[in-house]
Amino acid sequence: MSEQKIIEIEVLRYNPETDQEPHLELFKVPFTDDMSVLQGAQYIKDNFDGSLTFRWSCRMAICGSCGMMINGIPKLSCETFLRDYYPNRIRIEAMSNFPIEKDLVVDLSGFIEKLESIKPYIIPREPRTLEQGEYIQSPEEFNKYIQFTSCINCTLCYAACPQVGLNPDFIGPGAMALLHRYNMDSRDGGAAQRMELVASEEGVYNCSAVAYCSEVCPKHVDPASAVNINKANAAKDYFLRFLSPKGGSK
């Protein structure tokens, strides 16, 4: 049998009850090649320190719970493997640009509020009764938004966005991608309501096209694209009000 491999995992710890600020703590974790970073954290919790706090659920990159900074890069810890870092040390930290609640758990309440604010549901273009039947959509119409439906709300894009860190009120990449998803849906008629938010102080113009959000997105949603397309949409909306008798959105 081969010798047991040990990897050093440095964890950013923060206990709100006792700490003034976060600090790093080092653990030496025995691992096998099939172990993810999440399993490394679980090993620490089970064997070294039961108070280590982190979020996780599905272990297969679909629930979006286990995001963290792994050597400074926002990643889902369930699909990041210890073997890819060994023999070097790994540092895991709570996701950047969010307040740390405890250890690797961040305060997501701001994100949840942003998610609610974009009205992430279909506001029917034309209300139909059950008797009138379903809303018909062509494959072309479907293709316009399908990519933006893949978001799992893991918020890695927020951890990747310096503008979110600099202005926590910025609606941010993930929620903006979902907003775009509904605006692009042929069944939806809520674009005018959502465009107010797009063009607002909290809206798309906070984005300076760093585009790291799209780089780290585990589901290839390309939120940077959604944000930037809406810069053009908001500008179009603004200028159209001078031309169209009905005007753009407010």
Partner: protein
């Protein structure tokens, strides 16, 4: 009583913490190179307005070794600026649909770079002909 005390990390020096952000700052700052060249051309316009002697002095100044080195540095900055912006072109423009399919990002970036290079060369050829 709530024991919550969320800790907000400082953003000081954020751009130094990730190579991706360092590159972002470099490509953003190359805009200053483009602005510097605009300034050089503006000075030329002002000198032209001041008469023939001033204009010729400006032309002479452009031929100095310092000016040539300066031009090469500014050219390098402008080329990198062009490249880096066309690299993110696919995310900054609406999707281009051809034959029912979205054009690949590499195609958009590649096309833009080829067009920019062709336009640059055409301009150079035109100026060359006028100069000779």
């Amino acid at each position: 009583m709530s024991k919550r005390k969320p800790y907000v990390r400082s953003m000081d020096g954020w751009w130094k913490k990730n190579p991706y952000f360092v590159e972002y700052m470099i490509h953003e700052s190359t805009a200053l190179f483009v602005a510097a060249y605009v300034f050089i051309l503006l000075v030329g316009v002002v000198r032209l307005g001041q008469g023939e002697a001033a204009w010729n002095a400006w032309l002479e100044a452009l031929k100095s070794p310092l000016s040539v080195v300066c031009h090469l540095v500014l050219l390098a900055g402008a080329v990198y600026h062009t490249y880096s912006w066309f690299k993110i072109l696919p995310i900054t423009m609406p999707p281009v649909i051809v034959g029912g399919k979205k054009l690949a990002p590499e195609v958009l970036t590649g096309t833009a770079l080829v067009v920019a290079a062709a336009a640059g060369l055409a301009l150079l050829a035109l100026v060359w002909r006028i100069a000779l």
